[in-house]
Amino acid sequence: MPEEATSLPSELEGATSLPSELEGATSLPSELTVKGLKINKGAEETMRELLRSLLESGKVSGVLALGRTGNAGGGVAYSLFTDPDAFRADGVAIPLLPFMPSNAGSLLSRLTLKGPPAKPVAAVIKPCELRAFIELVKLNQGSLDNLLLISSTCGGVYPLDLGVNGELGERLPQYWEAVKHGELDDQVRPTCLACAHFVPENADITVALMGEAELDAQCTLYLNTEKGAAFVDGVASLPSDVDGVASLPSDVDGVASLPSSEGGLESHLSGELETEAIQRSHSQRQVHQEALFAGVEVGLKGMIHTFGRCIGCHACKTVCPICYCRMCYFDSQGCEHSPEFYEGELERKGGVRVPSNTVFFQLGRLAHMSVSCVGCGMCTDVCPADIPVSTIFSKVGVAVQALFDYQPGRDVTEELPLRTFAEEELAQVAT
């Protein structure tokens, strides 16, 4: 019961004093690398408790997380919660729901576009959303200041269709069962099945989900940054006084020894999060990815086959977190052609599609954003013509990013590849 939980005394002790029967966090060397905070509550409950307590104590002024909408509670949308009650067991917030109605990276960008919030705001987002946000920050579309980013080792999300026809709720038990075994439910989006980056990078706090057999009863929070540790520190309701549960070092020294976020956030995944389950899932998803990429219809014929049924709604662009331009070139005057243009094309080819620029739009968008494509899959999800946009974009993204040894969302201090260069490189390109 949350009410009880709040009244529990804070049992913060040094990390070194963790009882030995717990593996994972406790098996680490006593000094600096201790980041796993083991809690004897389920992951869902832990999240609720943590967020509720953060709001209640005023440590954060708001929490961006998924929540139910509508009276029937049928819909799911991200919301900016300020009322701690939303995170009670019967509250509307559902922070860990495997569903992505929009890429929260875009939402965080919208929130912080005009500057960081005056008081901290927490956000519970998925690894790909986090990567997207890092890219957006690099593109000057948001700010990391005063944000507490909480993410989890992701078991994928369900396609939007499942949220519409109400199957989402029914599938959840299956989903969590699979996640516990470090597996993926086969109904999650193909993009997720093939996701190579399901372990969050740059999160202040990471909730371990994949392969956590006991995630209904206990969970581990990895405090990757000083910021993350500082926020969790003092959350009374989390570390319980039940035997065998680790808690965070309360002394400042212990906290300070955690990896610092100075000079930008960096990935500080330590060995303990790279569990066997995660590694297994990694290789499984790699196989999926290869199969998925191999299935892309390539060549001009392939493009026309794939994008022939495109209705030109540009929804893929609208939901794409990286496509932040307020006025896309393909919606601009540059793409509003005169009748003479169409007549010229008609003379040349004998026939011309109206509206034009179907494949041009896709290739042009690739040219503009593929170096930053995080492979979140929103584009496929939202496509009313069921075009596997994301598969194609990921495939190209991976290839193009490899050219520049770049990984979107890896490091906020890393320059965007098209904004930087090395004098001695790519000599083979110029002839």
């Binding site: 009276n71 919208r110 949220g163 519409v164 709604c313 006025m327 007549e343 109206v354 034009s356 009313p384």
Partner: protein, 409 residues
């Protein structure tokens, strides 16, 4: 003012077309084939220079508007495809937004697409001078998502539902999109905005009517050496009958719909799944703005604003403008809404947006005495006004408050 009144009334009177006669097009081998053959002949005889018509895409899983002048491409053309992937009005607008071209182009569209084109002309987003609009009695279209699941099966479903093209009472509207099921502008009579209309209703075996609806259309039939001498009584009769049933269906559906959407509680249930992708706006032929207000800087606010609103409500849905977007969009385009259903086709969350908008459109257009796409002459309702109208929205002034104020003072 008198002048204005007369023109408006004339415009309104003109909106029911009753040409006494049409031409007959033999169609022993199927209506589509006959129609396409006729178009091919017209193209070969240089009656038009080019055609804008839905053509099956190479993957054979959908249709796209293609501007063509090579008659060979017409083989894969479909004058009445089972789906409406791109609203034809939008295609016309893309083609002619910068002015009339030099080529004479015949455009084959559904009636709702022709009405959208007319609205777009009034909104200065299209030019029809060098276009010939050709429409057909339309049974509706399938939901795009349903069709794409299995295009071949979809095409078969569409063909079956529309097997008897001559009797609307035989049309099975069940497989069609909800907004098509309640469409009462499926023919030309109430919105004679095309130049030629293919009347399948009430036609006899082995022939369909080609009905001239404008002097431009008459000239084409003349040039094609087609005598305009077939009486249209049976067509008019069938259309009128179907219009009545459809109008009744529409009224009933709208009454039922109102029950399910009115009030903030129910309304927010309708929009609870919305993901703010604005795809309805993107697909809508009337939403022509290059930069939509709802994607503009006007709604990009500092974090304190969002947090303050969240504080006030306990939480703030994010992105925060779901309802504002839908009502606001309605306030921008609803008077031109032709209930074409493009929005619903494009919605990834299956929100019955076209149905809601068709209800809003009917009522708003009724309030302002306007029919979207009804005629080129009638001015847009927010551009025109009458001095003596709509007094019901003016709040009458009652002196009672005056007295109170004096007492207070």
């Amino acid at each position: 003012m008198n002048d204005k009144d007369t023109t408006r009334h004339q415009a309104k009177r003109n909106t029911v077309l009753d040409p006494p006669c049409g031409a007959l097009l033999p169609a022993e081998d199927g209506i589509e084939a006959a129609f396409v053959g006729w178009l091919k002949e017209a193209l070969n005889r240089n009656i038009f220079d080019a055609l804008l018509i839905p053509v099956e895409v190479p993957a054979e899983d959908s249709f796209a508007y293609l501007l063509l002048q090579d008659a060979a491409i017409l083989e894969s053309a479909s004058p009445l495809p089972p789906v409406m992937p791109v609203q034809g009005g939008k295609a016309i607008s893309r083609l002619t937004m910068r002015g009339n071209g030099n080529k004479r182009i015949a455009v084959v569209v559904r009636p709702c697409e022709a009405r959208a084109a007319v609205e777009l002309v009034k909104l200065k987003q299209a030019h029809l001078d060098n276009l010939w609009l050709i429409t057909m009695d339309c049974p509706g279209a399938l939901l795009l998502s349903d069709y794409l699941e299995d295009p071949a099966a979809g095409a078969a479903r569409f063909a079956k539902a529309y097997a008897d093209r001559r009797h609307p009472s035989e049309w099975d509207r069940e497989p069609m999109r909800p907004v098509c099921q309640i469409c009462n502008h499926f023919s030309l009579r109430q919105a004679p905005v095309s130049d030629l209309h293919i009347g399948t209703l009430g036609s006899s075996d082995g022939a369909v009517f080609i009905i001239p609806a404008s002097p431009k259309g008459e000239r084409i039939l003349e040039d094609m050496d087609m005598p305009v001498d077939a009486a249209l009584d049976s067509w008019a009769e069938q259309v009128e009958e179907a219009e009545q049933t459809q109008t009744e269906r529409r009224r009933q559906a709208h009454t039922e719909l109102r029950e399910t959407i009115t009030g903030p509680e129910r309304l927010m249930d309708v929009f609870s799944n919305c993901i703010n992708c604005h795809n309805c706006q993107r697909a809508c032929p009337m939403c022509y703005c290059r930069q939509c207000y709802f994607e503009s800087a006007a709604l990009k606010l500092p974090p304190e604003n969002y947090l303050a609103r969240a504080e006030h409500k306990g939480a703030l849905r994010f992105s925060p403008d779901t309802l504002l977007f839908h009502i606001g969009r309605a306030s921008h385009m609803i008077l031109s809404c032709v209930s074409c259903g493009a929005c619903e086709d494009a919605c990834p969350m299956d929100i019955p947006i076209a149905q809601v908008f068709s209800l809003l459109a009917d009522r708003a257009q009724e309030t302002l005495g306007y029919v979207a796409g009804g005629s080129l002459e009638e001015p847009l309702p927010l551009v025109a006004y009458e001095m003596d109208e709509l007094h019901q929205v003016e709040q009458p002034y009652v002196e009672i408050y005056h007295k109170q104020e004096v007492q207070d003072a």
